[in-house]
Structure formats: C-alpha cells, structure tokens
Point group: C2
Chain length 149, copies 2
Amino acid sequence: MAEQLVQEIRSFNRFYTGIIGLLDRHLLNTRFSLPEARVLYELFHGEPCTASNIMENMEIDKSYLSRILLKFTKQKLLLRVRSEADGRSVLLSLSATGRQEFRKLNEATNRQLKELLKLLSVSQQEELAVHLRSVRDLLEKIHGTVIKK
Amino acid sequence: MAEQLVQEIRSFNRFYTGIIGLLDRHLLNTRFSLPEARVLYELFHGEPCTASNIMENMEIDKSYLSRILLKFTKQKLLLRVRSEADGRSVLLSLSATGRQEFRKLNEATNRQLKELLKLLSVSQQEELAVHLRSVRDLLEKIHGTVIKK
DNA sequence: CAAAATAGTTGACAAAATCAACTATTTTTC
DNA sequence: GAAAAATAGTTGATTTTGTCAACTATTTTG
C-alpha cells in the first residue's frame, strides 16, 4: 500500500537533490561554502548562541563546526565570549562585519531564487507555496519523532 | 510579492536537507556511499547506458564518475563493453551480482522509509503523495529551463 | 569530593569532489 | 579526404569536506 508513496518520495528526493544543487551552485561565486553559509545563517538568527545550539540545529559534527567558527573568528566575522553562567560554553555572536556579510549573502541568494521563480506564473507560485508548506507540516512529525544519533 | 515564497522555499530547503540527511543515513550501514548508490540506481534503470548518460542525469563530474565505475568494475558489479557504433563510448551494464546488490540496497531503503511513514496515518500519506507530486510538477519547469554549466 | 557529564579544541585521517592534462576515437569543415 | 574540432573517458595532483578519537576545562550529580 505505502509502496507507491515510497517510490514517490524517493523519486522526489532524487529530483529535489538536483534542485538544491541548482540553488546552491551560486554559493560557488561566494566566499562561503555551503555549510559555512548555513552556520552563518544560524549565527545570525540564533544570536547569541553556543556551538552546541548550532550543532543541534544542523546536525553537524562538533569538530567540523569548531573549525568553521575558528575560521569566522579569524575573518573577524564572529565574536566569542565565555559564558558567565556556564564556563564551559562560549557565547557566539556575529560582528558588525559578520552581520553585513550575512546580509550580502542572503540578499544575493534571494535575488537569484526570485529570478528562477519568474519562470512560474503568479498563481503557480502561490500553489507552490501551499504545497511546500503542506509537505513540511506532514513531514515535521517524522523529522521530529526520529531518535537522534 | 514573491518575497514570501522565496523565504518559504529557502526554509523548506533547510528543512528538507535534514530529511534527506535522515533518509540517507542508513546508507552508512551499507557498502555504498551516497553517490555510489545513485550511480548504481542509474545503471540499473538505464541499462545499457554510457558514462555520459549518467553524467547528464546526475550532474556529476566525469573524473569522479569514472572512478566510481572503476570501483564497481573491480567489485565485479559492472560490465563494460566498448560500443561498436561509437568507439569512444563504453556501454555499461550491471553484472548479475551488480543487479543483486542493487536490489538488496533498494529493498533495504524501501523498508526503512516505509518504517518512517508509519508515523503518518494513511490519509496523511495520501496527502503527502499529492503535494510532492505537485511540487515536482511545478518545479520541473524551472529545473528543465535552467541553462546547464 | 570523586565520578560522570558537557562544551569545545586539536591532530590525524579518510572520503568526496574538482581541475587540468592526456589518449583515443569520431565528426566537421574546407 | 586530411587537418581541426569535438566527444568519451581516464589519470594524476590537489583541495575540500567530513569523521574519529583523544584531550582540556568546566560543571553537575550522587
């Protein structure tokens, strides 16, 4: 019974992997790699947060993350302050430059995506939004339930 | 106007990246890497095909693909015959073992996904299928139109 | 207060991916 | 129909990305 849905999902995944690849390609003209861009996003939206917070959201390895944060620090994008409440953790926040870099990246990404969406009519765009939202709502249950690690 | 949709899509992408990661994790208990699994899929469904065919479908680098195919050949999963019609290309097809390996992998993947889908009711599953199909139909236009490379 | 847990860093590696140069054919062009 | 351009695939060198285990420094728990 669910057999057909399984095939639909797997086929969708192959397809959507291509879409994501397409969208991410523009990052290549950028100073950030894909995971870096994502970390930057988390920093911007989570401020102030800890490396552990980001690890949870992104399911990224801590050593890998640590090095990305180090790089950002060297590039003066990131400020780190040891937490007073808990001396083990470090509070992360973007510097003014960091925020600026994020905005630049973010806007370029938006522009690019908007460009692609022009290929659809307005009503198609609206439809798309509805379906995406529904897919997400349905899958959130699964994503949330699955035991991590 | 499209601004909101842009945000919806990007947010969906972050979310769905996690879903794909979740689904792919099981490959780790497998003798195949993610791109290897995908190449195997292409071989199984494209038989007989050429490396170029796979390159187009997967948007994978030719040298990278070449090495994956070499590995498959060494593992006796793949048979290669120089094309008579065009001496530059090689016709690829899975060996009996290769097909068997693909089926094993494929079934394990299906089982795993089916397991996850049990978290949804049957009507939710049906809904999901509908929305996925719609998203794909809508985005196919974009994916198809964009100039490659 | 000793033992266990948590936060993060570091070193050593392994896996994944890219780039350019090269061989061998086939197609194009004049 | 021969030289030039294009196509298919391979190989070597390298870079990027990601993982694993061991370690330091705190904090929490019993």
